[in-house]
Amino acid sequence: MFEKILALAIYVVIVVVLWVIVKKRKKDTNFDEMQEKVRAEGYKIAFFSVLAMLTGIIIYDVIAGEALPQYVLSGLLIVVVMLSFTIWGIYCIRHDSFFGIGQDWKTYLCICIVVGAIHCSSFVSEFVRIISTEHDEAFMHLFFAKAASSAAMTVTFLSMAVAIAIKMIASKKESED
């Protein structure tokens, strides 16, 4: 019981911290009208992507005959969340609306590469551990969601790093005339 209350408290703290960061970022970051419009379209696309993926999971769960194991469901939900963020992020990057006016792309590129590499190494180590040892359901509960989370974060950050790099090269080549 105590662990559940603690987990809920940690979740509330994370939400509050994220809210404060977003509020501060909103003050410091300026997006012009075209960027706001593109970001809104990106949110729409990501929202419907989440709906489509969750519908797929629900349909599979209903017709499969037996319920998906809890750890598989946890992993899938993590993947859905990170994929929707990736879709939104890449759409905004492609349409010049991920970065506010005056923001430095290079810093974000470096951050995405470093964080992606860290999560990639974490995923590889979790994956090796999963396939190389005999495991019970408790083990899978613990490590499958962690492995799915690392994999999803790797895909998110590395794909955004690639999108940023491509955009930077395209912007340099783009001629005004």
């Binding site: 012009d32 009208e33 075209m34 960027q35 006016i101 005004e176």
Partner: protein, 64 residues
Amino acid sequence: MKNLKLKSARAAKDLSQEDLARICEVSRQTISAIEKGDYNPTIKLCISICKALDKSLDELFWED
């Protein structure tokens, strides 16, 4: 539809897209999208661009 009037007015003032974007407080990509005809700016941005280039709304944004 491309906005060639905007592009030539900007060139006449010897301003780059970056310069005009800075004056109008938008991104360079927004100015580029307006000139290419990929984005229709709000009236507020149109007025801001006209003030920056010393032109009227008709001169820059009315269709011929």
